[in-house]
């Protein structure tokens, strides 16, 4: 997973004419590239949701008289090695990729954020322990860890998501911890502590909401990386199981027809590229929109 450093901190709202969220949205929507990204993401989400309505063919039914036909009017993206319509399979494959992206990042967040909060707020031995374990995981090649985990859990889309999620966790631990350390000393946290709030309340009510923007940015960028990781695992046969389509597994079977049927490799690859690019654009846009240094300029 790309190691993207995020440096965002939300300035506490002081008599702002609009809420921070609103301002962020307004600023986000002013960035054309982010708007483009949002639109493409929305488009793919729509594809995933309405796949059965949009598809003129069955994504699984084979037709052995139509094997590896190039793109034509009846099959816009051509057909694959078992005579299935590639356009339909790309549309259905959207489900696997988006689910993999969102769920694996969800897993990473739900493990990584509590650990990061604990490490950052409580400090001491726990912090050191979590910190060194995080360092160790980050030091090992991401794909090797994911392959080992996915192979261990057994090949399926769900297990691939878990494998990616667990492997992506250290990034969130590290980010959360750093953010907590920065926010911990802010006046309003000190104030909450002075008033005698319990620890959990300080962490969840006063700290967590303030580090949300940074997490949001990283989550968006991580979804992009997770979609690529899912494709890589499926490409290696450790993700979505046939006959259900996924972009990675489509590329896997396309690989041996590169000379005879290059269209089999082009479309799923383009779909991955577009989706991932869009999530990256949205993530970058969010970062700029939430960056306090940029506020003076808006």
């Amino acid at each position: 997973m790309a190691d993207i450093t995020v440096n965002t901190r939300l300035i506490p709202a002081k008599d702002a004419p609009e809420t921070p969220l609103r301002r962020a949205m307004r600023r986000l929507l002013r960035r054309k590239s982010a708007v483009f990204g949002l639109a493409v993401v929305a488009f793919f989400v729509a594809l995933a949701v309405f796949a059965p309505l949009l598809s003129p063919y069955d994504p699984i039914a084979q037709s052995w008289t139509l094997v590896r036909h190039p793109p034509s009017l009846s099959h816009w993206f051509g057909t694959d090695d078992l005579g299935r319509d590639i356009l339909v399979r790309v549309i259905y494959g959207t489900r696997a990729s988006l689910l993999a992206g969102v769920i694996s990042v969800g897993i990473a967040l739900s493990i990584g954020v509590p650990l990061g909060l604990a490490a950052g707020y409580l400090g001491g031995f726990l912090d050191a322990l979590i910190g060194r374990m995080t360092d160790a995981m980050l030091a090992c090649p991401f794909l090797i860890l994911a392959i080992a985990l996915a192979a261990f859990l057994g090949p399926s889309l769900g297990n691939a998501m878990i494998a990616i999620g667990v492997t992506a966790t250290p990034i969130f631990v590290r980010l959360t911890r750093g953010q907590v350390l920065a926010v911990k000393m802010e006046d309003y946290v000190e104030a909450a502590r002075a008033v005698g709030n319990p620890r959990w309340r300080i962490v969840f009510v006063h700290i967590l909401p303030n580090i949300m923007p940074a997490l949001l940015v990283q989550a968006t960028l991580s979804i992009a990386a997770a979609i690529i990781a899912e494709a890589a695992l499926s490409f290696l046969g450790l993700g979505q199981q046939p006959p259900e389509p996924s972009w990675g597994s489509m590329l896997n079977s396309a690989q041996r027809f590169l000379i005879n049927a290059p269209w089999m490799a082009v479309w799923p690859g383009l779909a991955i590229f577009l989706t991932v690019l869009s999530f990256n654009l949205v993530g970058d846009g969010l970062r700029d929109a939430l960056d306090p240094r940029e506020i003076g300029r808006s």
Partner: protein, 313 residues
């Protein structure tokens, strides 16, 4: 400063311990029996039992771990079960290949990342900014295995300009060597260009608003001179340092890229070992990779402190 360095070095010990535990649990995680996969079609129970004994696979995992740690501490990373070659020899054989590939990738990443970063900083919020941004972003947005396949299709299969696979050492024939590594290096470099581009952009934006650039402009210097002579020099030093340190990330990226281009480097060594359940090789390579990564990160921290004198407490 020394204090900080000492603290960081001390932290290495538990980190390396966790790395070793993680590496060893890979062996437990990976399903399948290495003795069985070794045997392949020749599955005879007696022979398989013998292999298990020979490689201590019949011992409890904790005992196997101790054997391994003992070996590592005395400089012995074990031996490949598959080809009976010491793991250290394999690593020394592959490391130069991946270093060459990685260096070329870094250069490519710096060229793409810095130029895109400068353009988008100077032409902030214009079409140029977006275009440069998109160009840098397409690198991390493309799965590198797909980009690899497409490049092979275009430049090797269709055009026949570059070899589709293989590796020629620099010492043997430098032209052939460059030809054999340029595509994989591009695929790898492309993926980190975006990170460098983001850093260049923000560093340039900061520098362009600094006093001395304003002074330079006020002196009536050409804009080009201002940017090339004054702004760039200051903005790029940290970016180039960062680029060099991205080498650790590259080792991870090399896993699939080397596989696609049949480059006999670290990445191919490890992924083949994973699929062949050649434990000693997996463990040795991950250990070396992780150590390089940790060392580079340490250097990065030190460099960061040196660049930001305020942090020297």
């Amino acid at each position: 400063m020394l204090n900080l360095l000492g603290k960081r070095l001390l932290q290495l010990i538990p980190t390396l311990f966790f790395v070793s535990v993680l590496i060893f649990s890979l062996q437990q995680l990976l399903p399948g029996d290495p003795a069985l996969i070794m045997a392949g079609e020749e599955r005879d129970p007696a022979v398989i039992e013998q292999i298990r004994q020979q490689y201590h696979l019949d011992r409890p995992i904790a005992v196997q771990y101790l054997y391994w740690v003992q070996g590592v501490l005395s400089g012995n990373l074990g031996e490949s079960m598959r080809i009976h070659v010491p793991v250290l020899d394999l690593i020394l054989q592959k490391l130069p290949v991946t270093i060459q590939l990685g260096s070329m990738a870094i250069v490519i990443a710096l060229v793409i990342g810095i130029s895109a970063g400068i353009i988008s900083a100077i032409k902030k919020n214009t079409v140029w900014d977006y275009a440069a941004n998109a160009f840098a972003l397409w690198g991390i947005s493309t799965p590198n295995f797909w980009l690899g396949i497409m490049l092979i299709f275009l430049f090797s299969v269709k055009l026949g300009w570059l070899p589709a696979s293989g590796y020629v050492p620099l010492t043997e024939d430098w032209r052939a060597s460059l030809a054999s590594t340029i595509m994989p290096a591009f695929v790898l470099g492309n993926a980190i260009a975006a990170i460098l581009m983001r850093h260049t952009r923000s560093a340039m934006l900061q520098v362009l608003e600094s006093d001395y650039v304003r002074t330079a402009r006020a002196k009536g210097l050409y804009e080009r001179t201002v940017i090339l002579k004054h702004a760039m020099r200051n903005a790029l030093t940290p970016v180039i340092t960062l680029g060099a340190l991205e080498f650790g990330t590259l080792l991870s990226g090399a896993v699939l890229t080397e596989q696609i281009f049949t480059i006999p480097g670290f990445g191919k060594l490890i992924i083949d070992a994973v699929f062949n359940r050649d434990y000693a090789v997996v463990q040795g390579v991950v250990l070396v990779t992780a150590t390089i990564y940790i060392a580079l990160n340490l250097l990065a921290d030190i460099a960061y402190v040196l660049v930001n004198p305020r942090l020297r407490t």
